[in-house]
Symmetry: C2
Subunit: 347 residues, 2 copies
Amino acid sequence: MPSKGSKKTTIRDVARLAGVSTASVSRYLNGKKGAMTEQKAQNIQAAIQKLNYVPSFTARAMNNNASKMVAFVVSNIEDYFSVEIFRGASQVLENSGYVTVLMDTNSSLQREQELLESINQRSFDGLLLQPLTNDAQEIAKRAVRQFPIVIMDRELELSAWPQVVTNNYRASYNAMRDFVAQGIDEVVVVSSQIQSASTRRQRYQGIKDALQSGQSLKTIEFNESDFSVEEVLNRLRRMIDPRKKTVLFSLKERWLLNFLPPLMREGLITSENSIVTGFADTNLIESICPFARVISQHPFTMGQRAAETLLMKLKDNDQAVPGLQIIDATLKDLSEGVAFKTLNHSF
Amino acid sequence: MPSKGSKKTTIRDVARLAGVSTASVSRYLNGKKGAMTEQKAQNIQAAIQKLNYVPSFTARAMNNNASKMVAFVVSNIEDYFSVEIFRGASQVLENSGYVTVLMDTNSSLQREQELLESINQRSFDGLLLQPLTNDAQEIAKRAVRQFPIVIMDRELELSAWPQVVTNNYRASYNAMRDFVAQGIDEVVVVSSQIQSASTRRQRYQGIKDALQSGQSLKTIEFNESDFSVEEVLNRLRRMIDPRKKTVLFSLKERWLLNFLPPLMREGLITSENSIVTGFADTNLIESICPFARVISQHPFTMGQRAAETLLMKLKDNDQAVPGLQIIDATLKDLSEGVAFKTLNHSF
C-alpha cells in the first residue's frame, strides 16, 4: 500500500536484498529481462515487494521534466469522433515512445477546468485538447506551466496554440450545394444547441448559405445532456412532410442513429423523397440507410495530425509548427458507402 | 519547453520574482485564486513562465507515493461497453479526488504488456484493468511494484486481485431458456473468436446448455480485427432459413448494429419468425429493431463497483474487499426498450 516506508528505498536497497546488481534490477523494472533466470527475476520481485520500492521513473520525470506521458482531453467520450481522434493520436505518439492517456470532460465546463488544473499540476509533457470552452483565456490561466498544447476540433478565437480542425463551414456548404442541385423543397436540421459550439455554428451557417430562395430551413434543437428521444421524434414527425423533397441534415451522427430507424419505418424518410445526410464517422448510417450520403471528418487523421504537431513542439521545432491546420471533411458517394468493407470504423 | 534549466527552480524562486509569498504561488497553482488581484495572478504567471517552473506535484507524488491518478486500461476503446465502465469508474473516483486516465490496448496483447510496464514505472495509485490476457502471471510480472489492481469484465484464473464481472453464463442461459419456451427451431450465434475471451466462452456455453433436443446451434465466427462485413453477411444470408423460427444471438452489440439492418431489409429477419438478441448496452438495437430483446450488462454500474473496490484497497481496507463481484446482466423486456427514453446510453 502507498505511504508505507518506501520514502528512502532506493534501487540499491532492492539489489542488495535480492543479491543482484542494480543493473539487473533496472533491467527487470524496464521489462528487459532477456537472459535473466526465472529465479533471479523472482528474487528481485520479492525484494521490491518486501521493501515496497517505487521505481525511479517519477524521480527521472522530476529531473528532466519528461514523463513521456501526453494528456488527451475529450469533450465527450461517448462520441465516436472523440474516440477516433484519440486513437489516431495514440498511434503516432506511441511510435515516439509516449503514452497517451485520455480524460473526459463529460460535456461539463466545470470538469474541464478541474482537469486542466490537474494536468497543470502533474508532469505531463503535453496536452491535446478538444475544448468545451470557446475562450482561450480560460485555458491559459489554468495551464500556467510551460508545456505544449494543441487544440483539436473546436476552434478557439485568439488561440496562442496550434489548432487542428475540420472545414465545417465549407463541407456543409458544398454538400448542401450538391443537394440543392437535385431540386429540394426544404431542409430539416437536427442538432443540440447550435450556438454553444463553433463546429455547430459553422455547419449551420454553411447549410443556410447554400440554400436558394423558395427552399425553407427548419431546425430542431435540444439539450444534449437532457432530452427525450420520444419528444424529439415527435417534433420530427410533425415537421417532415413526406410529400416534399426534404433533406434531413444531422449535425452529429448520434442523432441520425437514434431518429432515422423509426422515421424510415414510418415512411417519413424514403429513398424517393428524402436526402439523408450529416456528419458521421462510422459506417452504421449507411448500414441503416443505404441511400444516406454522410460527411466524414476523418477523425483518425485529425488525431494523427494533432499528435505530429505536438511532437514538433516537444522537439522545440517551433518554427515549423502551423497555427491552423484544416483537415477537409468529405461527402461520401453512395458507391463509397458500399465499398466501406471493414468494421474498423464502426462504432 | 521541457529540459531547460528548471531543474533547481523552486516555488521560492517564483515567489521572489513575482514579489509575492510562496503561499500565494501555491494558491495560484492549485487554482484557488480567491480574492487574489488580477495583477498579482499575472505576476505569478509571468514568473512561472520566465523560470519555466514545474509545480511540485511530482515531488509530492514521490514523497508520499500518491499521484491521485488511477490508470484505467481497456481492451478496445471502440466498444461502448469499455467506454461505459470507464465513465462509471471516473464518476466514483472523481468524487474521491482522483483523476482517472484511460489507456487503450487496442486488442493487442503486446500493447497490453507495454502499457502495464509503463504504468508500473509511473506513479499511478492504482490500476483498473479490462484484460486481454487470460493469464494472471502475465500481469503480475509486469505490475511488480505494490499498487492495488482490480480486474474488470474478463475473469482471470488464479487471480490475486479482486474481479468485477458479469454473470455471462447464467444470463445467456436464462435468456435462451426464455426463447426455448417460445418454441424455436435453431440458434445462429454471431461472434469474434469464441475461445479467445472468457466472456465469449461463458456466453456460448450458456446458450448451448439451454437448448433442447431437436434445436440446432449454428455459429459464425470471425477475426475481430480483420474481417469483411460483406463476407460475414453472406454467411448469415446462407445460414438463416426464413421458414424456420430462428434466434439470432450476437455475443457483442457491434455485430448486431452492422448485420441487422440489411438482414431486416431483405426479409431474413422478421418479427414473425425471428428472435433477435445479444449483449448490448446502448438503445440503438431497439431503435433499429423494435422486437429485439437484448441483454444489458450495466457497464456503468460495473465501473462504479470496480472503482469502489479500488478505493477500499487504497484505504488499506483489505479485509472488506470481496474477491469476485458479479453484476447480473439482465434480459430487457420489450416494454423496457420503449421506456428507455434518454440518449445517455446511446452512441
